[in-house]
Symmetry: C2
Subunit: 364 residues, 2 copies
């Protein structure tokens, strides 16, 4: 599918999403509530004040202009959530990135999409297995998605050849890890490289869970190959499960500590897989979600301003422990749009944090 | 529980079960139909004739007398299915052995009972794992049941120490495999050794599936450690499943051919286990089936003689492919007792074969 022209207000949209405190969920709610990025930018100070704080200044227009130039000079482009070329599976996440920076060609939407993740310090045998599995999946027409990390990720990208998508935690122009610079460049030229953070961003620990949700979100199913308990790979598996995608794991001996994470996943219900055929049995080639025209995530929402009573009720229901927004709506007995508006105000005031799975907490 | 005295008609019962063509299912039906082993022995020629053949001669009384002497001289004893000391879980199988030869002490009935089986040519790592798992299970109060074969079986018995039961395919006095002679003797003295075949029987290939049903039947659950596809261990797992017991398997790398059988079992629904705690989670320590007083398997059955019409209908439903007896009963629309009688006649005539899972076929 050809990319659409960038939206007329691409500049304002970028400025809004690059504003401190505006994540993908908030961004989407602001666009729905105010109808345009410009109107949302203008409303920020007032919203934050009602939330009991001060809004961060909107992103500097000079920084945004420089980002647009840099992206163009890299042969990359911005892909907004409502672009018809935006990957349909990813668009289904509640916290789908508002804009991606991409280099390369988007894979045919009807190809089965499989994420492969695993340990950076994986055994040589596991890397060999991952490479072979990715090769076989690509040969069967699947796209293999991974994160360009050392170990299993690298093996997956190498095995899949041109049938791969790499999602990186930093900016599109930042090679990480350094030894994968050539692989990253090759994937950008022959396949597809995706970044959510703006160019120039050095990847930090906090970026990796966001990167992981994109890997899981792009795929019908995630295969974990050799992972320790409490590793990032298991976070990706959890995100895949929360997004309603298949979770698969490659087993290993109980005597091998590096197999513990995968064996635990299988005990918890992940499908044990040994071959590409096992994987393809789980991710059906004709998945309606792959080709469904995405509904516009920016359907206008009727104004629903909160009053002080609603603010008191909602704030009282929140605490330092993350709770699902749905739960807050139910317990508050207030209209959902009002609760969302209170949360928006609190977030823009720097008092609310959003977590995976649609959960929120007060900043301690 | 103390053993009961041998039944008054132990001699006749042994003679009936040792008669060619009389397996445990047939034996039970004969006792129920004719009320005593002696009456059943007398009825054999007539039954076989109605089934269209000739009955094998009842076992030679001299051979039976010698078996009783041998068993006594070995410090062993016969344990009949209706003995209160007969293991309650095993007694629940449709084809529970009519009589066992045992040496040693029956384990406390309320101990969790776990079967462990696996490859004869298992890797050193898997044998070490099996030994450790059996040790941990015994330390937690479980009894570990296995088959005294090379590899995993041997490791399981060694790890479990005195908290073990060995079930052998040949006679109680036949050491097999030869290198396990000392282990077999130690288990008979310190734990429990069980044989279904009469003393002096050399184990043959056909005996092993019968042995496997006893291993699976004695246990609440069966753990498979390293097994090739289509191996005897997977047969034991299937028998355990058919008997309504838990099936558990230890995973391994897909690159290790010896892990294929276990990984397949897990894909098919067996529980992946890595530790004794994982196993004990599956086999509850307070399983009512362990202590339930067995109902007498020899409840008299009202006479239900078959007529030629029933014989024709039932025989027409049978072929060389094994079918469940329940299916034959349903399709014949004849009273179950009549169908069972026709099958009994055919079997005694040498025209019918019984298979695991209550299935029967005509002898080709």
């Amino acid at each position: 599918m050809a990319d659409a022209d960038p939206p007329a207000d691409a500049f304002d949209r970028l400025r809004l999403i690059r504003t401190t405190g505006v994540g993908p969920v908030t961004y989407r709610q602001l666009l729905r509530r105010f109808g345009s990025a410009r109107a949302a930018l203008e409303a920020l100070p007032d919203l934050a004040k009602r939330g009991g704080g001060r809004a961060a200044a909107p992103a500097d227009p000079k920084v945004i202009a420089r980002e647009i130039e840099t992206v163009a000079s890299l042969g990359a482009r911005h892909l907004f959530l409502d672009d018809p070329a935006y990957p349909a599976l990813l668009a289904q996440l509640d916290d789908a990135p508002a804009v991606l920076t991409v280099r390369g060609a988007l894979p045919d939407a009807v190809r089965p999409a499989v994420a492969m993740v695993g340990a950076r310090n994986a055994s040589a045998a596991a890397c060999r297995f991952a490479r072979g599995l990715a090769h076989d999946l690509a040969a069967e027409g699947a796209t293999v998605i991974s994160g360009l990390a050392r170990g299993i990720d690298t093996a997956a990208h190498m095995g899949a050849g041109a049938a791969t998508v790499a999602v990186i935690a930093g900016g599109i122009d930042v090679a990480y890890p350094p030894e994968n610079a050539a692989l990253q460049e090759r994937i950008a030229q022959e396949a597809l490289l995706i970044a959510e953070m703006p160019p120039g961003t050095e990847p930090r620990a906090r970026h990796f869970p966001y990167r992981n949700r994109i890997i899981a979100g792009l795929a019908q199913g995630t295969v974990v190959v050799e992972a320790a308990p409490k590793s990032g790979s298991l976070i990706t598996a959890r995100l895949a499960n929360e997004a309603g995608r298949e979770v698969m794991a490659v087993p290993g001996s109980p005597l091998d500590p590096r197999a513990q994470g995968c064996n635990l996943l299988i005990r918890e219900g992940a499908t044990l897989i040994q071959t590409a055929a096992d994987v393809l049995e789980q991710v059906r080639p004709f998945d309606a979600r792959l080709v469904r025209a995405p509904v516009s995530p920016y359907e206008p929402q009727p104004p629903a301003d909160a009053d002080d009573a609603a603010r008191r009720v909602v704030t009282a229901l929140l605490g330092p422990v993350p709770v699902p927004v749905d739960e807050v709506i139910r317990q508050s007995a207030a209209p959902p749009a009002v609760v969302q508006m209170v949360l928006l105000e609190l977030e823009l005031a720097g008092r609310l944090e959003r977590h995976a799975g649609g959960r929120v907490s007060l900043v301690a």
